[in-house]
């Protein structure tokens, strides 16, 4: 066990956990930020995607000791009221089925659009390929990303 001071969604948090604990489990178990989901634990499904200094990372692969003073944003911190353009596009297309993968999909999509505001279909597929949706909402995800991309306020 060791003490860590981290900043999650702009809020300073003090923790006492095993240094190896993945950020995913710190978020879920210690900080009760359960929007970040566990799907595989081995960087294969993307359900646990969060932003690490603005880039999409798999939080199941980031030990808490590596967070240091880097900025972490989770789905809960993406916007105040779910009004990020990507979230709005998700609502407009009514994307989710079971919904379990969607926080990870949204975090991957927002990071994509930040780097590349108008991605091509292929670029969307390439970046989003790491996020599995077992329910098969892929066509809607792509449509929602395009809507958000066109909204030009990402």
């Amino acid at each position: 066990m060791a003490e860590f001071n981290v900043t999650i969604n702009g809020e300073k948090r003090n923790l006492n956990v095993d240094p190896d604990t993945p950020l995913l489990w710190v978020l879920r178990d210690n900080l009760k930020l359960v929007g970040t989901k566990y799907g595989c634990g081995i960087a294969q499904c993307g359900a646990c995607t969060v932003h690490f200094n603005g880039s999409a990372v798999r939080s199941c692969q980031v030990p808490i000791s590596a967070v240091k003073d880097n900025e972490i944003t989770t789905i809960e911190g993406l916007s105040e009221e779910g009004d990020h353009p990507v979230q709005q596009a998700w609502l407009e297309h009514d994307v989710p089925q079971c919904g379990y993968c969607q926080a990870g999909q949204i975090m991957a999509a927002t990071a994509l659009l930040k780097n590349n505001p108008s991605p091509s279909d292929e670029e969307i597929e390439d970046v989003m390929n790491g996020n599995i949706c077992r329910c098969g909402t892929y066509t809607r995800i792509k449509a929602a990303i395009k809507t958000a991309s066109n909204s030009q306020i990402v």
Binding site: M1, W25, Q44, I75, G82, Q97, C98, C135, G136, T137
Partner: protein
């Protein structure tokens, strides 16, 4: 208008009052605070009433006119939590904007069939849910009529406002709800004509959408209590093995670990429900303070496992096969396939016979015979199995994802010896079901662990636990034979189907009824591997096989594959063979005609490789045409055109989402997924080795066309996924020149390595 008996009494009313007070334990009802306005994505605060009035078990009305509708059935992503309340709201005549939806707990006094399975929720809820709305509406009208001293027939209702035109008076539901709640429950109510629907048939957004996209704790795995511990299981490494002994000393000393012990989920003397299926009954359990700590302790455990002698003996037929007897019942996939191909059909029994198929085959000018097979599949719900349990001396509180709460309650009753009324089961939204959560072994495990520990626990499976401790889609095998006479007419059809551990045969399904001489045979082979329902059970294999065979048959006969099917369906419609045919040939032909026309099948303009298939299952009809190309040897699916007949479409955009998802799911499993075994050990245990379809592989476009026929609605959770597998196989044949007989298809067409690209 149709009159229906309500069958609702005071009982359902009184019973539910306590439910309303308690609310859901998960505690977060985002919609209770606020909901997105339908237009413009703007948010609109929905004021909460000061007081609620229970109308019946399905709904309550607030003094400000806000209505809470309880959605009875488990939500696994099929969107019943939105579409079922829509049925209630329709007959209530409330403005959908003023509706809050809450998941109802298990309550067998009020609700019937609280189960997610067989695509039946909408079909079987169609009448009771509308009746619940109509009953409350009638009570509101009765109360308003007596308040104004006029007759009910002079009143009209719209969007939650009751009006009396003659006297120019009106009032909202909220104003009269208190009086209405005292009105005698009517014995009979009238339901609307389809033409009067205002909500049914219009697209309404998923009621949980906002919660899902903002990361609210909606799922079982998100449940938290301050005094709760985390539990995980350790199971035998192979099917056919069992627990022998363990050394938990080191694990117990690890930080955060509270206890390590074994449980027997289903002791031998326990009478099991059908849903009590478990790969392994005896498990090692690790309980600790946090998920990660428990995961580490699992790895530090030293457990010894043994061959399970009983399992070895049970499998009579497997002993005949070389290599298995010595293995002590540890099974291998290559042996499965050869067993199914060779031994299975030796043991078949005739399920249906029309005419004289033997004679037709011996007189045939030509016989075409093809065999198809598929592997076991894991359900792989994105949310791994989990459940929260708080069991005390006299009560069990269970909260989490379960498709069969009613059966789970009975299992807990038998296993823990608690009375049914002291077992409270509440359902969370589920991160997928696909049939896996019909089998509530994880719920019973959680209950047993909590009882043993005497504290609330949340049982969580790792992905590896989930994938290797499944209730899998069985491995299947089918052989089709068709007899053709000298004029290339189809004179007999023979299907021989079986699997480990059930047969995929539907003997009375098309082409039964369309061929004079027909023989359907079935067989099963036992296995130590636990199997069960997987989205569209049995159809999830046999639809693709049958539709591939019909395609090949049409080609052999020199006919267009769609016209060939339509001609057969015409025969089944006009002059059906046999009496038990389970499909409506006209509706079947209807979806084929629509998909043919919408995809421009006959205008020959497509440059892609195209395949077609049509299938009937779970009371709905689906036909699909799939367009694809091989690019650098990789299948690229440009478009899938779907025609769907599920009667009235309750929530069109959500229904379209279901068809899109089912189509992608069907393609993904047929093309990429398999679970194989070596000495009883699953060769895949996470998504690095088990391949699921990903973004890049999904169709670029899915067009969905619903048949409008005004018939009572049927379900959509399952029907779109089986036929597309046939359409895919047929398109792959066009693209590669090779017929494919084995799932998954991808390794059959690809020379590339099988590595998963992410």
């Amino acid at each position: 208008m149709s009159k229906v008996k309500t069958g609702m009494g005071r009982r359902s009313f009184i019973k539910n009052v306590s439910l309303a007070g308690g609310g859901l334990i998960i505690g977060f009802n985002w919609l209770a605070c606020k909901r997105a306005a339908e237009e413009g994505g703007k948010e609109m605060a929905l004021e909460m009433p000061d007081e609620w009035f229970e109308m019946n078990g399905y709904l309550k009305i607030g003094d400000n006119g806000v209505v809470t509708i309880y959605s009875p059935n488990p939500e696994i992503g099929q969107n019943v939590k939105t579409s079922m309340p829509m049925l209630v709201a329709e007959e209530l005549d409330v403005d959908w904007k003023n509706v809050i939806v809450e998941q109802a707990p298990l309550n067998t006094d009020v609700f019937t069939r609280q189960l997610a399975g067989g695509s039946q929720s909408i079909r079987q809820g169609w009448e009771p849910l509308r009746m619940a709305g109509a009953t409350a509406r009638k009570m509101l009208l009765t109360a308003a009529a007596s308040e104004w001293d006029v007759s009910v027939s002079e009143l009209s209702v719209e969007n939650g406002i009751i009006s009396h035109t003659d006297s120019d008076r009106s009032l909202g539901f909220g104003e009269i709800a208190k009086a209405a709640a005292q009105v005698e429950v009517p014995e009979e109510v009238e339901l609307k004509d389809n033409s009067d629907f205002k909500i049914i048939g219009t697209s309404r957004k998923n009621v949980d959408a906002k919660g899902m996209i903002t990361g609210k704790p909606l799922y079982g795995i998100d449940v938290h209590r301050d005094d709760m511990l985390i539990a995980m299981i350790v199971q035998p490494p192979a099917f056919g093995m069992e627990f022998k002994s363990m050394d938990a000393a080191r694990a117990k000393e690890m930080s955060g670990i509270i206890d390590v012990f074994t449980i027997d989920t289903y002791p031998e003397d326990m009478e099991r429900e059908w849903s009590d299926v478990a790969a392994f009954s005896k498990l090692v359990v690790v309980v600790g303070e946090s998920t990660w700590q428990v995961m580490q302790a699992k790895k530090a455990l030293k457990v010894e496992w043994d061959l399970n002698p009983k399992l070895t003996k049970q499998i009579q037929i497997l002993e005949k096969s070389a290599g298995l007897a010595e293995g002590g019942g540890l099974e291998n996939s290559d042996i499965h396939y050869s067993l199914m191909a060779q031994l299975g059909s030796d043991n078949s029994e005739t399920v249906r016979k029309d005419g004289d198929p033997e004679a037709a085959f011996s007189n045939a000018a030509r016989v075409i015979e093809r065999s198809y097979t598929c592997p076991f599949l894991a359900h792989n719900c994105m949310e791994p199995m989990n459940f929260f349990a708080n069991v005390t001396n006299d009560k069990a509180e269970l909260l989490g994802p379960i498709q069969t709460p009613e059966y789970a309650e009975k299992s807990v009753n038998k296993r823990l010896g608690l009375d049914l009324e002291n077992i409270d089961i509440q359902m969370t939204r589920m991160g997928g079901g696909f049939g896996r959560r019909l089998y509530g072994n994880f719920l019973v495990e959680a209950a047993v662990i909590s009882q043993k520990m005497g504290v609330p626990i949340k049982l969580v499976y790792t992905r590896e636990d989930d994938m290797t401790n499944g209730v899998y889609r069985p491995a299947y095998h089918v052989t089709y034979r068709a007899a053709l006479d000298g004029n290339n007419n189809l004179t007999a059809f023979h299907v021989n189907a079986g699997g480990m551990t059930e047969s995929p045969l539907f003997a009375d399904r098309f082409p039964a009824g369309a061929v004079d001489n027909y023989l359907a045979e079935s067989w099963t082979i036992e296995s130590n591997i636990s199997t069960g329902a997987f989205r569209a059970p049995r159809s999830n294999f046999i639809a693709g096989a049958e539709q591939s065979f019909l395609d090949e048959l049409a080609e052999e006969m020199g006919q267009d594959p769609i016209q060939f099917r339509l001609d057969m369906l015409k025969r089944a419609q006009n002059d059906p063979v046999g009496e038990n045919n389970d499909y409506d040939a006209a509706r079947y032909a209807g979806v084929l005609e629509v998909v043919r026309d919408k995809a421009g099948w006959n205008n020959g303009s497509s440059t892609s490789s195209r395949g077609v298939a049509a299938y009937y299952c779970h009371n709905s009809y689906v036909a699909q045409i799939l367009d694809m190309n091989l690019i650098d040897n990789e299948p690229v699916i440009d478009k899938v055109t779907c025609a769907v007949d599920c009667g009235i479409v309750v929530n069109p955009d959500a229904a379209k989402n279901m068809v899109e998802g089912g189509t992608i799911d069907g393609i993904g499993h047929a093309l990429y997924s398999e679970l194989t075994f070596k000495d009883g050990v699953t060769q895949q245990n996470n998504f690095d080795s088990y391949r699921l379809i990903r973004h890049r592989e999904a169709p670029k476009k899915i067009d969905v066309h619903f048949i409008e026929n005004g018939l009572d609605p049927t379900g959509l959770g399952e029907p779109p996924s089986p036929p597309v597998q046939g359409a895919l196989a047929n398109a792959l044949y066009k693209a590669t020149g090779k017929r494919i007989y084995k799932q998954p298809f991808y390794p059959e067409i690809s020379t590339e390595s099988r590595e998963i690209k992410t």
